[in-house]
Amino acid sequence: MVSIKFEQGTVIAQETLTPSIFRTTIHAPNIAAEALPGQFVNIKCGAPASYDPLLLRPFSFNRIDSEGGTFSVLYRVVGRGTELLRHIRVGDKLTALGPLGKGFVLPEQSKQMGPAAKPSVLLVAGGMGIAPFYPLATALVTHGLEVSLLYGARLSSDLADKTELKALGLRVLCCTEEQRGECPSLVTDLLQATIDAGDRFDLAYACGPRGMLSAVKRVCKDSELPLQLSLEEHMACGLGVCLGCSCERASDEGYWHVCTDGPVVWAEEVKL
């Protein structure tokens, strides 16, 4: 049983990766100690005790340094919360709740994946969907697996974390909507092209916008490739209490709750 902490941490680094993408690193040793790839953290972005914004904001762990007691989140500024988060200064306090949710199931834990000598793993990221993949890739590479990453974004300048993921030893294929014409501009087209080219994988993980996830699900289903998805849904508590973060179940009626049943789910479990 993971234990969830509501911890007052300290911001120890603020990085500006592109004009709209930022990384914030927080020293919060109790949260960092138990964080796993694919889990997330709820961050209070405004001043302590401020009601604006009211809710905490969910972000995937983008870096986890359990020993150093720190973690990072990688995000795009889209509204009030992220705008405040990027402006918090190094040295300031910041309250966070985590680690939350179920992370990625690694191949050795996974039953869905067929036996393979050296399983080959595929990561598919759209936009900020890249955020949780660095810790996942690190774990996969540590287990000696071969990892490929298909990574799509609007602009090539939006391709955050690309260099670092390459440096882990991943095969990285990128596409952006800028290079229309030349090669696939959408990551789902890139995925189809890769599979059509004969590349074979034993397990896939995808993270990105809803529409992209649903397209990736279709392609993987056709090629019988087991797929885990990291979902997003509007959240309040992050704890399974408010029942606000519902996501339709695929088989039985009713809903999963992204904060506790996810954010990582097997693609066949959900309707997208």
Binding site: S3, I4, F6, K44, Y51, D52, P53, L54, L55, L56, L97, E233, H234, M235, A236, C237, L239, G240, V241, C242, L243, G244, C245, S246, E248, E253, G254, Y255
Partner: protein, 304 residues
């Protein structure tokens, strides 16, 4: 907690006047990991219906200025599921349990009351005639004196448990509704449930919620909730469980001074898992600073 916060509600001895508000505390499991549930006067559980409900489709939450609109739609395991799967945990924790019940018809309410009557571990029923998130019934029962009284009368007949009736704030005259449920045997009044609100997405040009409307809660509604508690406290003689936007001990104190015997904390739990213990500590210090020996001495004291 010291004696300063202990109180008595409808024959129950409570360790503090601070309760959880229904739907913002699940069945207590998650908060039990953060602190001892016996800090609470009682756990008011997520609303229960006769049969299990999946809840509403589509997006369920919208943040608003200092507020939250929800459209959960009473997702719950049904009364049998609750009794079998959730109640034993709370019973074991030794905290009084108030079961929040909702029905589509008056008969469903009374059937729920009958079913919960005498079930060990259930201390009280909270009759939710004010849920804005279900199509039939729900809030409609709380909209007029007649329908509110009707549900109360029927439920009253089917249980010996103490009853609190949870009122809707979306009405012209909440004091009259409180009086009519008091006359039908309500032992207590809970208020407020959420205010009906909505949001529109200016990009898609559509309401954000599938049901168009949802229920607004959180700090934004506190001034309205406090006013309604004040009005109801002037109209009835049964105790009041006050709620709506309570996020700090000061907020809780305002409701108590206005005449609430107990307060319930809802949305604040979703923002800070320690909201309730922090409020309890603050209230206890407040009692001491006021030179009172018990929070009970402060109930209604702004009305003098």
């Amino acid at each position: 907690m010291s004696e300063k916060l202990t109180t008595a509600l409808c024959g129950m001895s409570l360790s503090s006047p601070v309760l959880s508000a229904s739907g913002c505390y699940g069945y207590g499991r998650e908060f039990d990991k953060f602190y001892d549930l016996r800090l609470l006067g009682a756990v008011v559980v997520k609303g229960i219906t006769l049969r299990p409900r999946h809840g509403n489709a589509g997006r369920r939450l919208v943040e608003t200025p200092a507020g939250l609109i929800n459209s959960i739609g009473l997702e719950n395991p049904g009364v049998e599921g609750f009794i079998a799967e959730e109640l034993p945990f709370l019973r074991e924790k030794g905290v009084p349990v108030i079961v929040n019940i909702s029905g589509n018809t008056a008969e469903e309410y009374s059937e729920l009351a009958r079913r919960l009557d005498g079930v060990p571990g259930v201390s009280m029923l909270e009759v939710n005639i004010s849920c804005p998130n279900v199509k039939q019934g729900g809030m409609a029962f709380g909209a007029t004196c007649e329908s509110a009284a009707g549900v109360t009368r029927l439920v009253r007949r089917h249980t010996a448990l103490p009853l609190t009736v949870k009122l809707s704030p979306n009405v012209t005259d909440i004091a009259s509704i409180a009086k009519s449920v008091e006359e039908e045997g309500a032992d207590c009044i809970s208020l407020i449930n959420t205010l009906l609100g909505m949001a529109i997405d200016v990009d898609t040009k559509r309401p954000v919620l599938n049901n168009t409307f949802g229920g607004l809660s959180g700090p934004a509604v506190k001034p309205i909730a406090l006013r309604m508690v004040w009005q109801v406290a002037g109209a009835v003689s049964v105790p009041i469980i006050g709620m709506g936007g309570i996020s700090s001990w000061q907020d809780a104190a305002e409701f108590i001074l206005a005449g609430a015997l107990c307060v319930a904390v809802g949305t604040a739990n979703l923002l800070n898992p320690y909201a309730i213990p922090e409020i309890c500590i603050g209230l206890e210090e407040y009692v001491t600073r006021q030179g009172a020996s018990s929070i009970r001495e402060l109930v209604g004291s702004a009305r003098a």
